[in-house]
Assembly symmetry: C2
Homo-oligomer: 195 residues x 2
Amino acid sequence: MLKNPIVLLDIVDRLANVMRGEFRRVGGEEGLQPVHIQALLFLQQVNRFSNTPQALAEYLNVTKGTISQSLLLLDRHGLIERYQDDIDKRVVRLRLSPLGEAFLDESNPASLWQSGAREISAHRIRYCVTVLRAILFEIQNLTGGTPFGVCNNCIYYQRKSQRIHHCAWFGERLSGPETRKICRDQAPKSSSLTT
Amino acid sequence: MLKNPIVLLDIVDRLANVMRGEFRRVGGEEGLQPVHIQALLFLQQVNRFSNTPQALAEYLNVTKGTISQSLLLLDRHGLIERYQDDIDKRVVRLRLSPLGEAFLDESNPASLWQSGAREISAHRIRYCVTVLRAILFEIQNLTGGTPFGVCNNCIYYQRKSQRIHHCAWFGERLSGPETRKICRDQAPKSSSLTT
DNA sequence: TTTTTTTGGTATCGCTCCGATACTATACCA
DNA sequence: TGGTATAGTATCGGAGCGATACCAAAAAAA
């Protein structure tokens, strides 16, 4: 059956279009475009190894020049902060400003999605996440794209004890919340679908 | 657990961004933008009740003025045909031209997605489709959006015999292939998740 | 019927995303 | 130490997109 994947693609695309419209509506009050909302959501969820313009550009699949302009606008609006990396002085680090965090908290761009998914069980959500992650990872392999993913789903993630988390790739200890954030250098474990 | 839906939204958005980039690549050779590829794919899959600019605009979540320009471009490229509706003379009907069909066949914008989903079983794909459809339908209810969906998943779809399909909404007989196309006036059956 | 309102689509304008290119500064390497 | 690669910025042009105004046809109202 060749057509089912296409049906899935249709739904994914349409959901994204709907959310894009929602982001436009949410951001309109602040003069923000959908892409800016996506950028803010990215910064809300990315870990401290991946909060750079380059990573954001790859995540949103745009060029670094493009994202540079978007960041300029977000900076002018006071929604993000940019600071130089200590070690590599070429690298710019990004984070939400208090204003940016407040904006996300108040406007909650994902609230429509959350409402729409309210009746879906956590198990079904997780199932979909697993399947879509597998597709995304495979596509990233095919196109050579950066394999973004959640930290604790990575082969370099090590849980040394109840409270000690460690990344074998960057060689640094991780806090508990950090292990649930998005990382750009992710090498996912072989997926273990539950059905 | 409030965060899992957000994770799913992230993946849906990112998959859409990746495919958007792929559409840009595919369409670039013909001078087409991602939105034009999406429009062609829509026309490839929509049924004869829903092949209008208005429906396409709602599907892609853009205004009718915007989609009118996109259709103008596709028409200039000879990829679509526009013709007047017999009954309501305000309505413009759309269809892929032979050139448009050939373009989709040759370039196959969804091939990357198909490759990425190759290893996923049909069952898992269907499962995801069902869940995402439920979310999409719920969101459409909340926003008052048009409930697009596949014809044979609609409460107005009636299978009168092995080969006789009927739509109780439009009051017309349907061919077998038609029942698998997208319709804009869809009222989905209560979802029956298989797990 | 005639008039009014609604609806589907088009045309035009301005804004801003976005890719492409060129450029700077830092880091890495031989 | 000089050459290359990389992270980011600046600038330009093309094009999507929303907003508005407009037209024609249908539907509703009077």
